[in-house]
């Protein structure tokens, strides 16, 4: 009921309101490719979003492949050096120096990968902006 009264009051325009409406009135603007341009930009953004993660993963993988392969080689070398009894023993038996070497290299790769992924996401966001 109250809203109806408000709407009625809004409809009761005086001459001043009509004068202002005529002053504010503007010719409709032709589309002239505007909507097409907006849709093109949206589609481009959608494509960029879809591509951003695979591209970031591919780039990150390509960069991380070298340290990762070095890590695999180092671990395989380590396994040949360390006696079987030690390799098969529980993890807390593994000598600490070798453990640190492996975890250090792994940590380096992981940190590098995360940093790269972050940079990729940030870069793609900047492109989108």
């Amino acid at each position: 009921m109250t809203s109806k009264i408000i709407n009625m009051a809004e409809k009761l325009k005086d001459a001043e309101d009509r004068l202002l409406e005529s002053m504010f009135a503007a010719e409709p603007i032709e589309d002239a490719g505007f909507s097409k341009l907006v849709v093109t930009r949206i589609r481009r953004r959608l494509w960029l979003r879809r591509l951003a993660l695979p591209v970031a993963m591919a780039v990150g993988g390509a960069i991380a492949i070298k340290p990762a392969s070095e890590l695999v080689v180092a671990v395989s070398k380590l396994l040949t050096v360390v006696p079987d009894s030690v390799v098969q023993a529980p993890s807390d038996w593994v000598p600490s120096v070798q453990g640190i070497a492996i975890s250090g290299s792994l940590l380096q790769t992981v940190v590098f990968g995360i940093a790269l992924l972050g940079a990729g996401i940030l870069g793609s966001r900047m492109i989108l902006e």
Binding site: E10, E16, M23, A26, P28, D31, F34, V38, V39
Partner: protein, 195 residues
């Protein structure tokens, strides 16, 4: 929002109402449906921004940004008010954000001594080019201008303007009243209401 029933293949998007097109755009990322919404409302949005900025090129750039933001936030449109009301809210927010950005940009440029360049860029119109409406809008504050344009140029109700600007209906009414008073006193318009 829900899509009520499936659209028949033969039915063109131009015959659908705004709510349905929004549902299509949100539900299936249908850019063609959103394109139809842009086509329908671009004139009002561009006119609104042109009146706020007073610069055709800047307004059209902002209108593009506004529709991109609208696409990103489309799922937040509840479908309760009119779509153009919601769109003008996005346009007004986009305008305010750009103002803040350009203000910050001006501050940075000012710090490095590029005042002259900015001033020359801002002078886009000569004194003769200023229309009656621009003179009228010049006496209003930014908020008053936006609300008056929404009311008199876009035909939004006070409730819709309140939703678009985040102000209570009572405040919207008083801003319009104040704006009219300013215009009346600045341009010596006689009060038609009282003869």
């Amino acid at each position: 929002m829900e899509v009520h029933g499936a659209r028949t293949i033969a039915e063109p998007a131009t015959t659908c109402d705004d709510q349905y097109l929004v549902a299509l755009a949100v539900g299936s990322q249908d850019t063609a449906a959103f394109g139809e919404l842009v086509r329908r409302h671009q004139s009002q949005v561009r006119n609104f921004l042109r009146k706020l900025t007073g610069d055709i090129v800047a307004a059209d750039d902002l209108a593009q940004d506004c529709f991109l933001h609208a696409w990103d936030k489309l799922q937040t449109y509840s479908g309760r008010g009119s779509f153009i009301g919601w769109l003008l809210k996005v346009a007004y927010t986009t305008f305010l954000q750009s103002k803040r950005k350009s203000k910050r940009y001006a501050e940075v440029m000012d710090e490095v001594g590029h005042v002259a360049e900015l001033e020359s860029r801002n002078v886009t119109q000569s004194a003769e080019d200023v229309t009656d409406l621009e003179k009228l809008l010049a006496v209003l504050t930014e908020e008053e201008r936006a609300i008056m344009v929404m009311s008199y140029a876009c035909g939004l109700s006070h409730r819709e303007i309140g939703e678009a600007t985040g102000l209570p209906v009572g405040t919207v009414k008083s801003v319009i009243f104040r704006g009219k008073e300013k215009i009346r006193t600045s341009f010596d318009i006689k009060d038609h209401q009282h003869g």
